[in-house]
């Protein structure tokens, strides 16, 4: 294991592997096109929990427990837990830590928290700190609705650019790579970028410039070209955000083509499930990676993936006060062991 700083906020890591992942999602997510890739699909939004907040915790706890199990280790082997969620004071992450009782670093980067945790965890392992790190992120549609928008049963019309916060949790166990493990290759931590967007019902367009900034700096630092990736997946830009990112990319000389996709755009049947711009939330990129993307790489369909989770760093108070929405994106390259030897 070793780590080399290759850019302003970019690092190349040696021998950090993903030992296992797990994704647990709600019923709507299970009915989407990626339904078969998730470890567990809840039959109801609350799964018999008495509040939406409790349901969110249960979701994260199940995903973390499953990931530990699938990584063939026990909680005692986990040196550190990294992760976050959307609720005030990141209560889901903190409360779940009460159950597993492992050292915790709670993170907040809104919907970008999964790659922040993944990158940071890998960096710590490469720097020969902890030997095994669990990372996880979660969101629950109903819990997010009541914190950021309106009561669930209140009738109102969503705008075409509004996103649907996913009920999903994803978790991964990182450790020293052994032969078959996927590798966390390179990491670029994002800067906060604000292009003056104010509409909390259009986070895709607010976050697209942050995604571009991190992708550009990641490619520049690593020397990778777009063609070196089988997929570049942003977190939750959605339909509109991806269109803008394509456009911003071509203006900056980056032709993404159909390699560029988005976790939020992929999680649902957009029209049939009536989710407008697509999915959002920390659980979106966490769940889509831990379920779908991980398996695409593991099966050998793909060799290299760039995951760029995107976050809008606002609160209900800041947008009510008319502030613009600062955004961030963290980029992590995950590759199969074969691709690494290239």
């Amino acid at each position: 294991m070793s780590v080399a700083k290759i850019g302003a906020a970019s690092y190349r890591l040696k021998n950090v592997g993903i030992k296992g992942t797990a994704a647990v999602v709600g019923p709507k997510e299970g009915q989407g096109p990626l339904g078969a890739y998730f470890d567990k699909v809840w039959v109801s939004e609350t799964n018999h929990e008495t509040s939406f907040e409790r349901a969110e915790r249960a979701l994260l706890e199940e995903a973390l427990n499953l990931a530990v199990k699938k990584a063939n280790c026990s909680w005692d082997d986990v040196d550190l837990v990294l992760g976050g969620d959307l609720l005030d004071q990141i209560v889901s992450t903190n409360f779940v830590a009460r159950q597993h009782e492992r050292p915790l670093l709670g993170l907040f980067a809104a919907c970008a928290v999964f790659t922040e945790a993944l990158g940071l965890g890998a960096l710590l392992i490469a720097g020969q700190g902890p030997k095994r790190v669990a990372v996880g992120a979660v969101s629950h549609h109903m819990a997010a609705e009541r914190q950021f928008r309106f009561p669930i049963e209140l009738g109102y019309q969503r705008t075409p650019t509004a996103a649907w916060t996913a009920t999903a949790a994803g978790a991964a166990i990182l450790g020293v790579a052994q032969h078959e493990d996927l590798l966390v290759d390179t990491v670029t931590f994002g800067r906060v970028i604000d292009y003056g967007s104010k509409d909390p019902n259009d986070m895709g367009s607010a976050m697209a410039p942050a995604a571009l900034d991190s992708i550009e700096r990641h490619l520049a630092a690593t020397g990778d070209r777009i063609e070196d990736y089988d997929g570049i997946f942003t977190g939750d830009l959605g339909v509109f955000g991806i269109d803008l990112l394509q456009e911003l990319g071509s203006a900056a000389g980056l032709r993404f083509g159909d390699r560029l996709n988005d976790c939020g755009k992929s999680l649902y049947y957009l029209k049939e499930q009536d989710v407008h711009n697509g999915a959002s939330g920390p659980g979106c990129s966490a769940g889509v990676f831990s379920g779908y993307l991980y398996q695409r790489l593991k099966k050998g369909d793909w060799q290299r993936l760039l995951l760029v989770a995107t976050g809008a760093l606002f609160s209900p108070t800041t947008y009510q006060q008319g502030e613009t929405i600062p955004c961030i994106a963290h980029a992590v390259t995950v590759s199969s062991p074969g691709a690494h030897a290239r």
Partner: protein, 153 residues
């Protein structure tokens, strides 16, 4: 200089966003609002006629009609249907008194988990509050103008 470049970049981006933003289906929304709102008013009219059949005058029937409509709105909210009515009907579902009922009952259901005092009690008016504040204020101003102009209280 850097600031100026920044402002320009931000402005250019916001213009791009504006030009590409998918537009709301306004015509469809308006037509749906007309029929959904119309249907609710039609139901209200039938209820009022029902009371009038039983010997009330049109004016007397107004209050019980309102009560029945509020009850219906609350019932549909409780069943989880009223949000679907507004989703399609937009203002056609929000503006009638059934929409006001929805705005009261939805937070009442939602904040039960925080208890009867700090939950339901404190949050009951989170949605309807502004409507009440500005509705009452507007009524006061209009009433005052009427008094000053016509002398009728």
């Amino acid at each position: 200089m850097a600031d100026q470049e920044n402002t320009q970049r931000v402005r250019a981006y916001q213009e791009l966003v504006k030009s590409r933003r998918p537009s709301k289906p306004i015509l469809k929304n308006v037509i749906y609002a007309f029929f959904v709102g119309g249907a609710i008013c039609e139901v209200g009219q039938w209820i009022q006629w029902g009371f009038m059949q039983n010997g009330m005058t049109a004016k007397e029937a107004t209050s019980p009609t309102t009560v029945v409509l509020i009850g219906l709105g609350a019932l549909l909210t409780g069943l989880g249907w009223y949000d679907k009515v507004v989703k399609h009907g937009g203002m056609g579902g929000t503006l009638p008194i059934t929409g006001f009922s929805n705005a009261m009952v939805a937070p009442a259901m939602e904040f039960r988990s925080e208890g009867l005092v700090l939950g339901v009690g404190a949050k009951l008016f989170t949605v309807a509050g502004p409507v009440l504040v500005y509705g009452l204020s507007a009524a006061f101003v209009v009433g005052l103008c009427r008094y000053l102009l016509t002398g009728v209280a």
